[in-house]
């Protein structure tokens, strides 16, 4: 073993000081960096959302001018999506994928370092626009031309920031996909992989397929603005609607990039605390694969009102509704996993359960939006805002929080405080519904999105929503305290290697905290650590 080391590692333990983090090629270090980065971005994006909710607390213009309001909605979305949720999922993949498949590290550790370090620089470019002439981008995160072409000095900074984020996502995705395809321990066949790994395999595929398309779209914006091309100008034979097609060809798979890893996390946590194996492992895999496939042929449901031919409206309507089928399979399987399980409700489980309930609400509103004739009423209203926040906050974000509570004892060797965790869950669950449920009503009644003012009849719903938003934000400090003091600063009770009684998988076979290098020689996977249990083949009828 030690001989082995010397021949393959010039350098072993972490370096000291700041250079450790700049130079690290270790998946655990980089996972930590990704997660801290996401944490900071969630905070910045959260402050922006509070500015939005502050302005919308009452009708009329009170706190900020309309341009700045629009910058806030735009920047909030870009930061939360590209700076918060995506890096957080990549951070979890960094930490967990190598441990779950029994690999020594990600396949391309230096590329992994690059993928992370691009992010702070990309977001410096993006955030610096807040201080520029003409203000930060204010066209909405979808950056539709011709409006986006009126952006001031911020414009090229935004475009190049997105290019950099794209490079980061693609390198990260290639790394994860290659690790999964090439570095599994012997015996870990594809259909024995933990579902989190499966979810990331599919997510990585979506990333590699769609981020370049986004890069192409924003490149066309750049040349339209500065180099006289006419991609999105009808006078030159182009079409602004063309941008929307290209953008959403990326954009819809992107929303699944934001949710598939969440499916993986929830499918990991529920069996642990129900003390049963996951119901319908194979169907979970096939459901994710079909969701990924379908996500490429539904994009124009974001454009029902743009003036598409009827055949287009119908095709995209039915294709979109089809996605509800594999999604339904997944929800069914989560519930069936809990059926007659011996359940306990530790914090990760609470967040996973919150996910199942509240994400499903977002799925239902999605189905309503998928009905093209109805979407003419809902489109660009607060109903859409309610929809995507239900899938993104109590969906994606809850799953990230659940995963953090679930795995952090393994990373740090110390338990968070269970009481504070439960308090955090209940406050968050209540606050998030206060924030977003009323937006359904405001939207159905006709309140448009992305406007700093509104008609007085919407006031009540908006007041509730704003109160909920501040309440949610404050509740997250309980989480920050709990994680930082108890886990990061190691004040909490020491964690055992298994951490959770019902947990299975290779990551639980190493000590807590997990050593800096795990599985330098591939582990032997015992039957009890295989989380993938296939449906029993029906017993052969006995012959007389």
């Amino acid at each position: 073993m030690s001989e082995h080391h010397d021949s393959h590692h010039d350098d072993h333990g972490p370096e000291k000081g700041i250079m450790r983090w700049i130079k690290t090629t270790n998946h655990k270090d980089l996972g930590t960096l990704y997660l801290w980065f996401a944490f900071i971005m969630f905070f910045i994006g959260g402050v922006m959302s509070l500015i939005i909710r502050l302005e919308l607390f009452s009708p009329g213009l009170q706190w900020v001018n309309p341009e700045f309001f629009n910058s806030m909605t735009t920047m909030h979305a870009l930061i939360m999506i590209f700076g918060g949720v995506m890096p957080a999922f990549t951070g979890l993949a960094n930490w967990m994928v190598p441990m779950m498949v029994g690999a020594s590290d990600l396949a391309l550790p230096r590329v992994n370092n690059w993928g992370f370090w691009i992010l702070p620089f990309a977001f410096t470019l993006l955030l610096s626009t807040l201080f520029m002439g003409g203000g930060a981008p204010a066209s909405g995160w979808t950056m539709y031309p011709p409006l986006v072409l009126q952006t001031g000095d911020a414009f090229p900074f935004m475009i190049f920031a997105i290019h950099l984020m794209g490079i980061s996502s693609i390198t990260g995705a290639i790394n994860v996909i290659v690790t999964i395809l090439n570095m599994r321990a012997p015996g870990m066949t594809l259909l024995k992989m933990p579902l989190f790994v499966w979810s990331w395999l599919i997510t990585a595929y979506l990333l590699i397929a769609t981020m370049p398309v986004l890069a192409g779209a924003v490149t066309m914006l750049l040349t339209d603005k500065y180099f006289g091309t006419s991609f999105f100008t009808a006078a030159g034979g182009g079409d602004p609607v063309m941008y929307q097609h290209i953008f959403w060809f990326f954009g819809h798979p992107e929303v699944y990039i934001l949710i598939l890893p969440a499916f993986g996390i929830v499918s990991t946590i529920i069996p642990t605390f129900a003390r049963k194996t996951l119901f319908g492992y194979d169907s979970m895999v096939y459901a994710m694969a079909s969701i990924a496939f379908l996500s490429f042929i539904v994009w124009a449901h974001h454009m029902f009102t743009v003036g598409m031919p009827l055949a287009g409206e119908l095709f995209f309507m039915f294709a979109t509704m089809l996605i509800a089928v594999p999604t339904g399979v997944k929800v069914f399987n989560w519930v069936a996993t809990m059926w007659r399980g011996s359940m306990t409700f530790e914090t990760p489980m609470l967040f996973a359960l919150g996910f199942v309930f509240l994400f499903t609400i977002g799925g239902f509103s999605g189905l309503m939006l998928a009905i093209a004739p109805a979407d003419f009423q809902y489109h660009d209203s607060y109903f859409v805002v309610a929809h995507f926040h239900y899938v993104l906050v109590p969906g994606a974000v809850f799953s990230i929080i659940a995963g953090m509570y679930y795995w952090m004892p393994k990373w740090t060797g110390h338990m968070y405080h269970e009481g504070l965790g439960k308090l955090h869950f209940w406050l968050s669950a209540i606050a998030i519904n206060l924030t977003f449920f009323p937006q359904h009503f405001a939207g159905l009644a006709g309140m448009p999105r992305r406007i700093p003012d509104y008609a007085v009849q919407f006031t009540d719903w908006n007041v509730i929503s704003s109160i909920g938003a501040f309440f949610f934000f404050i509740a997250q400090f309980i989480m920050a305290y709990n994680w930082i003091v108890n886990c990061v600063m190691r004040k909490g009770a020491p964690a055992t290697a298994r951490v959770w009684e019902g947990a299975h998988g290779l990551e639980w076979t190493v000590p807590s905290p997990a050593p800096y290098h795990t599985f330098e020689t591939p582990p032997v996977i015992s039957e009890s650590e295989i989380t993938a249990v296939h449906d029993e083949p029906a017993a052969a009828p006995s012959r007389a």
Binding site: K23, N26, R110, L125, A209, P212, G237
Partner: protein, 286 residues
């Protein structure tokens, strides 16, 4: 092949990617300032120099590691998968621009020309759909186009031939033919790439100086130059990669049974080749 056989090469900590990112950051920040009309050439050139330096250093590091035998079978497989997925991402990037071309020709131009929808009647009743076009506004003024069966056809032949010479080189390497032959085939490939680029540049000059076909010639000019331009950038990169491989061959790198550095570049070159075929058909002929 998919199992972790142990002893996977894990590189030592390194700041190369970090410095590369600083280079990119300075360069892109500089370009942004430049586009906003502020001078920033210092930033751009410094950033570019730093980026290129660290790309060089990083690849040199990889080559050294590879030649000193640190990469086993499994690392080789990693590079294969990695390169394959990288090329897939490039395909999707070109897909966005081909998509724009198809969308304009199949949907938005017919609509502007009066089929199906009201756009034509409301906006430009006199506009008729045709290709090539710079749109109802005649953006960029009248222009001529490059006929496909002249230089573009020649370029097609050049690239196809370069694919063949590259394959000869590859077979030579695999079958342990004399190095000199392999290297000659490689130089032939590099030369073909350079000639292609030369003709492409020539074509652009003709387009700009004689045909008034520019990036600003409406949707035709936009798609023409963005597609051929990005392709040309990829040929440039590919030729540089071929050159590096050739020099490495001359230094005695690569073994007959292990030379993914060579194969990866060959994959890339074939990808560039295939994109060109798409361009030749959809941009020049049709």
């Amino acid at each position: 092949m998919s199992s972790n056989t142990g002893g996977y090469f894990v590189p030592a900590p390194t700041a190369w990617p970090f410095y590369l990112t600083i280079g990119l950051f300075l360069m892109l920040g500089g370009v942004s300032n430049y586009l906003n009309g502020h001078g920033a050439s210092m930033l751009i050139w410094t950033g570019l120099a730093i980026s290129l330096a660290f790309i060089w250093i990083w690849f040199r590091g990889i080559i050294n590691e590879s030649e000193s035998g640190k990469y086993g079978q499994q690392v080789d497989m990693t590079y294969r998968w990695g390169m394959g997925w990288f090329i897939f991402s490039e395909v999707m990037f070109f897909g966005a621009f081909f998509g724009a071309l198809f969308y304009a020709r199949q949907l938005s131009l017919p609509w502007l020309g009066g089929s199906d929808v009201m756009t034509n009647a409301v906006l430009w009743p006199q506009f008729e759909n045709a290709w090539p076009t710079n749109g109802p506004g005649g953006v960029g003024g009248d222009f001529g186009i490059i006929p496909p069966w002249g230089v573009p056809f020649l370029n097609t032949m050049l690239l196809l031939t370069s694919g063949v010479t590259l394959t000869f080189a590859h077979h030579g390497l695999r079958e342990n033919k004399p190095r000199r032959n392999v290297i000659l085939w490689m130089w032939a490939t590099v030369a073909l790439g350079c000639i292609f680029l030369f003709f492409q540049a020539e074509e652009y000059i003709v387009a700009y100086q004689h045909l008034n076909l520019t990036l600003e010639s409406g949707i035709y000019g936009s798609t023409f130059f963005m597609l051929t331009g990005f392709h040309g950038m990829h040929v440039t990169l590919g030729t540089l990669m071929l050159l590096v491989i050739t020099l490495r061959l001359m230094k005695g790198h690569f073994k007959s049974d292990s030379h993914f550095g060579f194969e990866g570049v060959a994959w890339y070159w074939h990808f560039v080749d295939v994109v060109w075929l798409g361009l030749f058909v959809f941009v020049y002929i049709l």
